[in-house]
Symmetry: C2
Subunit: 211 residues, 2 copies
DNA sequence: ATGAGAGGCGCGATTATTCACATTGCCCCG
DNA sequence: CGGGGCAATGTGAATAATCGCGCCTCTCAT
């Protein structure tokens, strides 16, 4: 009994992972010191080596835990027909996930900017599936959009929309005058993203034109 | 004569600024070492102190040079009536600027994630003007959209779109199979952004709805 | 020669990592 | 039941590398 995975007091290793996740996400791999991590947990830095081989292994473990959570929705989407409705639902799930835990987006952003260990693995596991060339939307008539060659750019744009909201949130806090992670802010962001997604689904062709 | 600002050989101070800009943008303030900067310039790190008081002053100078360039288009937009056409033109200018020099976006992203010196000043000078409550679009009939309360979110979204493209570019490089900063890629990104901006201008109300 | 700019040297702080050691709880054997 | 190990987990001290930064000297062009 007393299974530590079931809402019991978190183990030291888990508390280290929590602290490290926050710090890696905020400051990046190299700017995060093991002393900072240890301080948050309330132990001394050499004690970390009882739980993780070294700094890089700790970083790996943090990534692994996050990837397990965030890879799920895309796998689920691919488990069935890719219809408009299911894309909407998938996007909403992703947005809610990033609001619930902004750390993956932040880690990813650091990795994109500075590299760091396991960056290629991150790309492969999170993004590669979204850019597979055979990814088509069934049911709707998106052929016009698909043929425009803009589809990968759209995938990228919506990914940017979701991730950048999270990574830029600290800057937007006082510009918006409200907590970017509040329930109300989440609803607003969802409204906007869905409106833009509808625009893509209803794409009628034509480039830009200001008038 | 031999004015160093006019396409002559750049002075040492300018070469230091160039190197520091790239490194601060890639690795952030604290992860950038003055040794790295000096190496790029081809001098030893103590020599940097002949040109800049200390690391923070160097960072300040880098920011100042970037802000001078990137603040211009918004100031120009505000110099006249804010019409649909001029918003289109402003957005295109911004996108092209970020493609020409991705460093400001990257610097900003680091600041948003980790703080660092002068972050508040950055927010005030770049973003505050975009979120002024009296900012309205003249001419078009956007009242429906404005009344939806989503306007600041749209401003944020398009900012995210532009900045995140740049900050995530290293990750997208091999996913797209082409250089994200090529002319062709720029055109594609512009097409997509303009299409989404048109969707905002033609906003008809209504929330989401998948079918 | 004179002053700006480059380099050498080194101090003090921080970091990742290792090591020797203390403490704790648990299992097993007598 | 009791105690001898033993693994797990903590600690402080020590090490080697790196960093920001200041001091002092040298060099070279005007």
């Amino acid at each position: 009994m007393n299974n530590p995975a079931v809402s019991a007091a978190p183990s030291t290793a888990e508390r280290i992972l929590d602290a490290a996740e926050d710090l890696f996400a905020a400051k990046g791999y190299s700017a995060t010191s093991l002393g900072d991590v240890a301080d948050r947990v309330g132990i001394r830095s050499p004690s970390l080596y009882n739980h993780f081989k070294n700094k890089e292994a700790l970083y790996e473990a943090v990534l692994e835990r996050l990837l397990a959570v965030f890879s799920a929705p895309l796998a689920e989407l691919e488990g069935g027909p890719v219809t408009n409705e299911r894309v909407f639902h998938w996007l909403e799930t992703i947005v809610r996930q990033h609001h619930a835990n902004p750390n993956l987006a932040r880690l990813l952003q650091h990795a994109a900017l500075s590299g760091g260990p396991h960056t290629n693995e991150l790309i492969d596991r999170l993004f590669r599936p979204m850019f597979r060339p055979d990814a088509k939307i069934e049911g709707g008539d998106l052929t016009l959009f698909e043929n425009s060659g803009l589809q990968p750019w759209a995938v990228m744009a919506f990914n940017n929309l979701v991730m950048s909201y999270v990574t830029m949130a600290p800057m937007y806090r006082d510009l918006l005058g409200q907590d970017p992670f509040s329930e109300a802010a989440l609803e607003n962001q969802l409204s906007l993203i869905k409106m833009l997604l509808r625009a893509v689904f209803e794409y009628k062709g034509g480039a830009a034109g200001a008038g």
